[in-house]
């Protein structure tokens, strides 16, 4: 049987996640891998919003902040298990997205960008300034998820880095599966249709406002889960997770890798997570080179890394 594109993509991703550790010289690389997967999960949500539905957001780190602080605060204040706190964060983010999405998504293009940006700033300011609850700009500790211990009792012993590599890798894979499902489903077709022509989408019966809102909520849940995982993995969180720079970073990864493509955006997340790590060797040249690479890739591979590479491969083959 011929594999569908969806299954091929998932298979390649799964193999990469499973086999990469064979090349890791040290435990530190598990951590880098996990960071890639956490970012990969968030950008997969942005593929749904930006790539499928064509709606920009410069405030999705706000949802990551909600997810992260749900994990940081709910166990202490509500006595919730951290895993349940993660779900609570996702529900909360989805709810907030649903509430603010209605008015915000009537805006288009850069106006939508500035409105989402405003939302992100609001979240990060609350997190930074309500120090009594959130711990303020210095951040706050996060409870242990406890799953690693549970695994150990049934005979699966993993180091902390290994556990988080596996857990985040699995989460990203699951996220990619869901987004790829959506792409070829009735809802996904309607989203991509309204991206290309809102007026034509309306005339075939697409409830444009409702579908944009769905994409916004879905991507908010992705960002929230990504924030939760980051908090649980680091056992510590600061308001930076919700900051403007994190929002921009996520959008940059998505567009850099290929905004319409799930594996493309994940490649973008991987590249832009690894690059600063690699460039730290160059110390003060880090920003200069990072900026230069971003510009060069977007000038010469304007549709993003993966789509452009694929086209070139096909062109030769």
């Amino acid at each position: 049987m011929r594999l569908s594109r969806k299954h091929l993509t998932l298979l390649v991703l799964a193999l990469l996640i499973a086999l990469a550790p064979a090349l890791f010289p040290s435990n530190f690389y598990y951590r880098i891998g996990a960071l890639i997967f956490v970012n990969g999960l968030a950008v997969t949500g942005l593929v749904v919003l930006i790539g499928f539905a064509g709606q920009i957001s410069l405030g999705h780190a706000g949802f990551a902040g909600i997810g992260a602080y749900a994990c940081a605060l709910a166990p202490g204040y509500l006595g919730l298990h951290p895993g349940l706190a993660m779900l609570l964060g996702a529900v909360l983010s989805g709810g907030v997205a649903w509430l603010i999405g209605r008015p915000i998504l009537r805006l288009k293009g850069y106006y939508l960008a500035v409105a989402t940006l405003g939302f992100g700033i609001l979240v990060s300011m609350v997190l930074a300034n309500e120090a009594k609850i959130t711990g303020g700009p210095d951040g706050r500790e996060v409870a242990e998820l406890g799953l690693r211990g549970a695994l150990a009792t049934i005979g699966i012993g993993l180091s902390n880095a290994q556990f988080w590599y596996a857990a985040t890798g699995l989460a990203m894979l699951l996220g990619a599966w869901v987004a790829l499902n959506l792409h070829d489903s009735p809802t996904g077709r309607a989203l991509r249709a309204l991206h290309d022509s809102e007026v034509a989408a309306r005339t075939v019966g697409v409830d444009v406002a409702r579908l944009k809102l769905s994409a916004f909520v879905i991507s908010a849940v992705y960002a929230s889960l990504s924030g939760s995982l980051l908090a649980l993995m680091n056992r510590f969180i600061t308001p930076d997770v919700a900051g403007f720079l994190h929002s921009v970073e996520l959008v940059t990864m998505t567009v850099f890798g290929g905004v319409g493509s799930v594996p493309g955006a994940i490649l973008g997340a991987a590249t832009l997570t690894l690059l600063p790590q690699a460039l730290t060797v160059l110390q003060q040249y880090e920003n200069l080179i990072l900026g230069l690479i971003m510009m060069l890739v977007m000038i010469f591979m304007r549709d993003g890394l993966l789509p452009s590479l694929m086209r070139r491969l096909k062109g030769r083959g």
């Binding site: 869901v178 499902n181 959506l182 070829d184 489903s185 009735p186 809802t187 996904g188 077709r189 309607a190 991509r192 249709a193 991206h195 290309d196 022509s197 007026v199 034509a200 989408a201 309306r202 005339t203 075939v204 019966g205 697409v206 409830d207 444009v208 769905s214 879905i218 319409g260």
Partner: protein, 261 residues
Amino acid sequence: MTLLQVEGLGIDFGGLRAVNDVGFAVAPGEIVSVIGPNGAGKTTLFNMISGVYLPGRGKITLDGRDVTGMAPNRLAERGLSRTFQNLQIFQRMSVLENAMTGCHLKERGAILSDLLCLPSSRRRSAVTKARASELLERVGLARAAEHEASSLSYGALKRLEIARALALEPRILLLDEPAAGCNAVETEEIDHLIAEVAKSGVAVLLVEHDMKLVMRISNHIVVLDRGEKIAEGSPATVSRDPRVIEAYLGTQGAEAGHALG
């Protein structure tokens, strides 16, 4: 029996009366054409009827229900479907997917089942795919199904829009210059297609510049000039109407007179 009724419809753009006091009716199975010189307000009229523009004056009824100013997606639910003069194709989707979106109202379902690829979602997609393939066959695009839509020729895109509009299984179909940019053979095919659609009981409202096509297939013709209705009637009546001839001769000269004659 009337399906679509338009009464006293009008809209202004910044003080300019783009369309004023236009009225006519369309019955199931009937082909009604709206003709007139460039800038007469035909497309604007279409945009109001299909809910893209909010009319400034007048009333539109579909099936006896007032639908004036109703959103396009609600009108689609009530069986109104359209194509566009300036193509509105989903460029980044495949030809097949373009036709499939025409089935949106029938295939939409719980988003959760789409996210998780539940059997119900797969079933809906499969039904849609079969239906869209049939329609592509019907408009002669079956072989291009897997191509990206942006790779098609202009004439092919026109037909793709018709396929997408038909996928809604409309009761009334608005076609805005379906034959523009098509060669003689393609025009002939579109001619047959429209006649076939009307025969199945669908009301067709047509804007078209190809007068031969219009005169051949229309049951009823509405003539617009400078936003106003100046005549209506059967092709024979309209083509003899002095006001119509004047409107065309005044703007397009002998060529139009010849086309009408």
